[in-house]
Symmetry: D2
Subunit: 332 residues, 4 copies
């Protein structure tokens, strides 16, 4: 039974708390949050031991692992403390606001089980695509196309202050998928975008619509289509085109019910939101993290993978500004 | 260049005339119809030589083959004459109004190229299913399910006087498909039906909705779902379930365009009518008939196949009346 | 918190135990089984209070409801006892081996929350179809087609002694779906079948392949295609054809991954077995039962619904023997 | 009856000859080709009057319209002559090797029916998408994604000398689709590519794999994925994402037959080649051209549209070299 301290009692912290409580292999020990009331409530709701501060939580030998789901600005301090304590850690992305801080964390964590919460890696469909590329079903990967468009309503532009903007927040998940699926490293990126949905994003220096082209060191080209609002639910899909075939993890439908009427066949549409589509990946992610923490050798996204995705994001943002290809420095 | 006499200048006769005129391997010589004006007009429209009577057409040595598309009640006389003249013949189904007459035709035609116009056998999808069953992709055929439902508007009940009713007109095509796909012979049938669409059909002793179960001599069970009206175009599909897999020739869509909107994906529907769906099969049927007539050995549905389908139809009609399984006498 | 006694610690009992333990609104109190060791082990594994006999369990006021998942031959005695105790009950089908006993139970349960475990009613896709028929999307129901074919390996023919045979075991779920979806009552049935998969079933008077045609009092025709073995996983689908459209709950695929290779697109197939496909319905079924037991008015399949399905099954079996349509006596 | 002179008797010239001969509304008069024997043979095969030189063909008053399908290097001279003669013309793309020449042609043709052979505009699926965007089904267009990947075997790198390379040959069709579907004008482009299929293309300064991002003056972003070789037939698809929905003209399958086997559903794949997929569009294109030439007001792609696509192609080629966004000068 792995004892877990959870840092962060916000939206994503609550998802982790619920999954930790339901998992037969671990136990919620502490919840850490600057808002003590919120920490206590979450702890109580999921049978945790107590709300606590960072030091108390890390000092307790019954805490075998830590999940960091605090606000981004707290990540660096939290990660640094957990790594210093030598405990396995699963950290929401980004690792840190600053790329240099992120690199310091990744470097310091060498040898530890230190995971970045790239939950999409644990999606059953994506896992199948990953595995089937590995065994050679499509030969050499030459092109990847990834679509990720978020359902309406569009988030308020002010949210950019916390999220860092679409090319960081949404993007980093997908830069990671590209590297993970291809097994190749990012080399250079071009990004174009605009505010077609809500001009308000421009005031925060952000975009709501973007198309990116990433070159990998294998020569493969990866394209990304992002938007902050669809009129039809949460949309995500991946196509991997190789020299001997193409694998597609398509847009998933909800129910498999079709209505034949007049001159159409009206099928179920997409999931209403990202959580309906990817909710189960958080459980699988926790499962893989626990397995790794217990030395049972599961594959997981490391802090180094998180660092790589951040480096791509920073280059993408610069590319939008400079209207040119930006090389990605290999700091990971 | 095969010279062709066409008997019948009605709806289906016009389809044949058009295809004969467009086919590079044959030439329309005569059109025969009790309505001379209609025959002449059709002949002229497709570059034929002349309207004529049966004797004139059959006496001309330039007539190498005959297509019989006259009214059902004329089939027996027409077929008998063509067979006596020893010319290859393609006859619309049914072979004759009376099952005994149909048998006499089939017997008399032994050794001749004498084809029944089961045009669905020449559909590219059905041909593929047929071929793939032959090469063993699904093992031994155990169940077949065939759906055929006609688009709205429902035909007028009076049409039954000419068509012989749904279990003959629509049914015979599909009884033939079942035997052809399975390579097995019909043994007994159960049919249930009702007038759910239009009670007027009952006045003519007919149905508009029916479900049939046919047992083949291989033991396989074939089910048929028929209706005279859908709210969504012409619907036809076939599933063949075997010991090692299942082949499905699904409902075909028109365009391959999808609209993602709200919580649905709205795809193209079915073809508007049977001709949109199966029009091309008439050309393929003519092609196969010409190849056979010219001794190039193409596969085609024979008069014996037509006789078999008629025998099944008669048993089905009796089953509806007697509410029991009716054995199918092996007269073919 | 609803206290629950579970009768039966076999395969399906274990499914219920797991779901009861995981449900936040109820608590496992007792497990009753003739094999005390098995009852104790199951009780312990899921935090139950104790293994017990029927009387002890029913006498305890903390037992608010009972789930009967014992062997079919014990159903009658168990149901009778629970009904006499006036406790809400969810009973696996069939209600009783004998149709008369089943009727006695259904009659006795009048006024009680007494549910038959027709878990497919709680499938998200089937529920959607049910609801959409109710709101009129397809007009008047005219034809229903239901396919249910079980994955390989085929069960051993000896299993018939316990299951009652395919037309009872597999059939009753689907007779119930037909009545539930259409909102109409069964009137007469025709059933044809054979042993194409394993001749051993014939020794037990059973079939492994069957096609049935059920007529409802609305005039609608329902066809069923059943088999005890597919070469491609667990196959189930429903089509409901109405005067104004058709609703289809299609064969569900596993992952949504496709491989484009050579001249094919290789998609995911069906679920490996019925439990992979319908496992989640057991949780939804429990949820509905608890809601009804607590007076929160959920819809559920009653014992009367179970009785009806049994009456259809008995008529179907007679139809196979007598090769004719068998009227279904309205005993429910 | 429109009399037609066909310039060019090569591969695409033969497609036009066949369609002209089969079309009920026009007649093949002359075939013009530097290889007289080839011109004569093609003329004879399709019932044309005679092989001829440009002057003879254009002088004949029975020539009502001209189809230019000669080699690209001859386009400018041919087009100039036809425009001077004031006859309606349908010209294969590109209009001319040189962008300035192309502009001169487009300018000179003002007021004439002068069409560029962008045959994909006449595809039934693309037409449907175009029409449905017009009527507002998806609101304002924000993103378009177009995939075009050619089947194996890869063309020989030497072919670049005639085709002008992938970003011109393949690209121009798709730049045109983007502008036509969106109703917006190209503003700037970024293109990245490589030789992943065959390094031989690099020797000719060409690519075999490319990803492009085009910005339109509406703000919409268009992405293109191109490749010169797939392992699974000819692949083309279009997605148009708008503020109120998304329209998709998907990868078309050949037959609609599926095989359920083991844990997969094996469906038909794509068409074997571009001609199987887009062959029918050449007939529809001819039909639209004839209608326009006869003053029946059909919509068609003009020389101006052709010029625009060429301007995009040249900018794309420069972008690859300079690794930056290249503005597209508005010369059309």
């Amino acid at each position: 039974m792995t004892g877990i301290a959870l840092f962060g009692a916000g939206t994503i912290g609550r998802v982790h708390a619920r999954n930790i409580a339901a998992h037969p292999g671990c136990q919620l020990k502490y919840v850490v949050d600057t808002d003590i009331g919120r920490a206590e409530a979450l702890c109580r709701a999921h049978g945790g031991q107590a709300a606590a501060d960072v030091e108390t939580a890390l000092r307790d030998k019954a805490v075998d692992a830590v999940v960091v789901a605090s606000s981004t600005s707290a990540h660096y301090a939290h990660l640094t403390a957990v790594i210093a304590a030598g405990k396995p850690v699963l950290c929401e992305k980004p690792i840190a606001d600053d790329l240099g801080d992120a690199k310091r964390c990744a470097d310091a964590a060498a040898g530890l089980v230190a995971a970045t919460a790239f939950n999409r890696r644990y999606d059953a469909s994506y896992l199948a695509v990953h595995e089937r590329i590995r065994v050679g079903e499509i030969g050499k990967v030459e092109m990847i196309h990834i679509v990720s468009r978020t359902q309406a309503p569009t988030p308020a532009p002010e949210s950019v202050r916390f999220s860092g903007g679409m090319l960081r927040e949404k993007g980093s998940h997908h830069y990671d998928l590209a590297a993970w699926l291809s097994g190749a490293e990012p080399v250079e990126i071009f990004a174009a975008g605009d505010c077609l949905v809500d001009p308000g994003f421009a005031e925060y220096g952000d975009l709501d619509t973007a198309a990116l082209t990433l070159r990998l060191d294998s020569g493969a080209l990866v394209t990304f289509s992002f938007s902050r609002r669809t009129a039809f639910g949460y949309e995500e899909m991946i196509e991997v085109f190789g020299s001997e075939g193409m694998l597609e993890a398509g847009r998933q439908r909800r129910l498999g019910v079709a209505l034949y009427k007049r001159d159409t066949v009206i099928e179920d549409g997409l999931h209403g939101g990202w959580y309906e589509r990817f909710g189960p990946t958080y459980q699988a992610e926790l499962d893989a993290f626990l397995a790794a923490a217990q030395g049972r050798g599961a594959a997981y996204a490391s802090l180094v993978d998180g660092l790589r995705a951040q480096a791509v994001a920073e280059a993408a943002i610069r590319s939008v500004r400079e209207k040119r290809v930006v090389p990605i420095e290999r700091i990971w």
